[in-house]
Symmetry: C2
């Protein structure tokens, strides 16, 4: 079952010809979720051959343009392409005002339900809970109300052993009972203990997205042990003062959070346009946390429990 | 002296990987003007190595997203790059509301003056008149208040003949007098008639941008004889009914306007995404008006009087 992150934009505030600002597409069990939506995101989705209409949930971390200026374009394109399924947008309450003004000014009546979920960036809250995942907000320390998102896969049910199933024809209700942990009694009254006829399910996976934020240890309990942490690294340590002043992080600081939170892997991004070669930025993180890697536009990372 | 049109987007409503929606950069005497600003325009400007900060005037034809969704991104980037020169935006009055809401929601105070000029799309008006050009609106027939723009170069002053200047040292005031049509009297009292000491200046050039619009002969007097006419051609004749219903034009209709208005050249664009190969669309126009050509993202056309 898929759990992957596709980076649609790995740059900071200014769109460049080779690097878009923030947007990521998360695929969990072929359900698609979009996190942030900078200008150009819909074209980045096309470039990665992602089916736009399969996106049902869009999470916006905050209302700086490099995280949401592509949203109205995507909403309009979904409409023009004939969408009828509802689309859920989770964001700062003022985004609803902005979306409504755009739609009203252009006299557009969407032919699908656009459902807006206002976020409170002050506290960590569960904002989506479905069969496959739970999405929890991560309050971040930026110069604007901002939150990250933790996507936690649900624990899968145990698997029924194939050697047990051989020669038996179980009813659907039996399957459900066994998968929910019950023992099984056959037509002769023989009892099979659940632990003998099932194997453990694979471990659930988790991904945390943290952009934009200053170095802030208060997020550590929320991202503890995740399989993959995306943490912004706008600057390197030589610009630590700029990072502090602008409520951004250095690559070293991102790695320090990863280390302290005991995550499995760290993905760096949101690079300032000043860094032409990112190897030094990566090296700075690796010194603190060896399992660091660079996000790049168009890359897809499979999230696996390590 | 330059007068050129760079096509930044030649497609209709939906941004594609190979074709952006509407935006054009007009260079007249190294002053840059932007017409329309779809999502992705700032990156298209970068791709064409156009210096963003040299743009001082932006004209928006109407408030459909494929003509303005890139504007807030461009405004923000100019701010982040340290602009201090004023920026003039000419558009539907509601765009001011939209811009202000975005800036307010993101708590952005621009470090340059953003001057908004509301347009009345019902009448043709001169909206800019400087040393080099005059910009006049062209009311268009769309399903939304829309106008095109006519950019007319000012008549240049006559040139003073080099053979006359040889061996003379004229004062600056003499140059101005001769260029304004006056005769010249030298220190011996000899009178030189203006027509003998000057040559005619080159003809002023003109460009008209008409998108989006249904076939509408009422624009003909406004675009009569222009050196280059951009006219939308969303559809071909096989979709003439769609064109009519959606207040767009076919390639043949665009050519018919060009023919009736006696323009020198016709530039087609705003193609529906359904047309993969545009040769048939071009052929349809050429049958009616041979001097037709296809706009394509990234092309630059020099406007010369024919």
């Amino acid at each position: 079952m898929t759990f992957s992150v596709t980076v649609l934009g790995s740059g900071a505030a200014i769109p460049l010809t080779h690097r878009n600002p923030s947007a990521q597409l998360i695929n969990v069990h072929e359900k698609l979720y979009l996190i942030d939506c900078a200008e150009g995101t819909q074209v980045q989705l096309r470039r990665n051959r992602i089916r736009l209409q399969k996106i049902n949930h869009i999470f916006i971390s905050h209302l700086h343009g490099d995280h949401y200026f592509g949203l109205m374009g995507l909403i309009t394109t979904l409409h023009l392409l004939g969408r009828d399924a509802e689309l859920n947008v989770y964001a700062d309450p003022r985004l609803e005002e902005i979306m409504n003004l755009h739609l009203d000014a252009s006299k557009t009546v969407l032919n699908y339900p656009l459902i807006f979920h206002p976020l409170n960036t002050e506290v960590s809250e569960v904002i989506l809970d479905n069969r496959f995942i739970k999405v929890t907000t991560i309050p971040l320390k930026h110069n604007f109300p901002t939150c990250g998102f933790l996507i936690s896969e649900k624990q899968a049910k145990p698997n029924i052993r194939k050697d047990f199933l051989e020669g038996k024809s179980l009813a659907n209700s039996d399957y459900k009972q066994i998968k929910s942990g019950k023992d099984y009694t056959d037509e002769h009254g023989i009892v099979y203990k659940n632990e003998d006829i099932t194997t453990s399910p694979r471990l659930p996976r988790s991904y945390a997205y943290c952009s934009d934020t200053a170095y802030d240890e208060s997020i550590i309990p929320l991202v503890k042990g995740v399989d993959l942490l995306y943490h912004e690294a706008t600057f390197m340590e030589d610009k630590a003062k700029d990072a502090e002043a602008k409520f951004h992080s250095t690559a070293r600081q991102a790695a320090e959070i990863a280390r302290l939170a005991g995550v499995k892997k760290l993905l760096l991004g949101h690079y300032s346009a000043r860094y032409k070669n990112l190897q030094a930025l990566l090296n700075e993180a690796i010194e603190v946390f060896p399992e660091s890697m660079l996000a790049d536009d168009g890359m897809t990372i499979e999230v696996w429990p390590v």
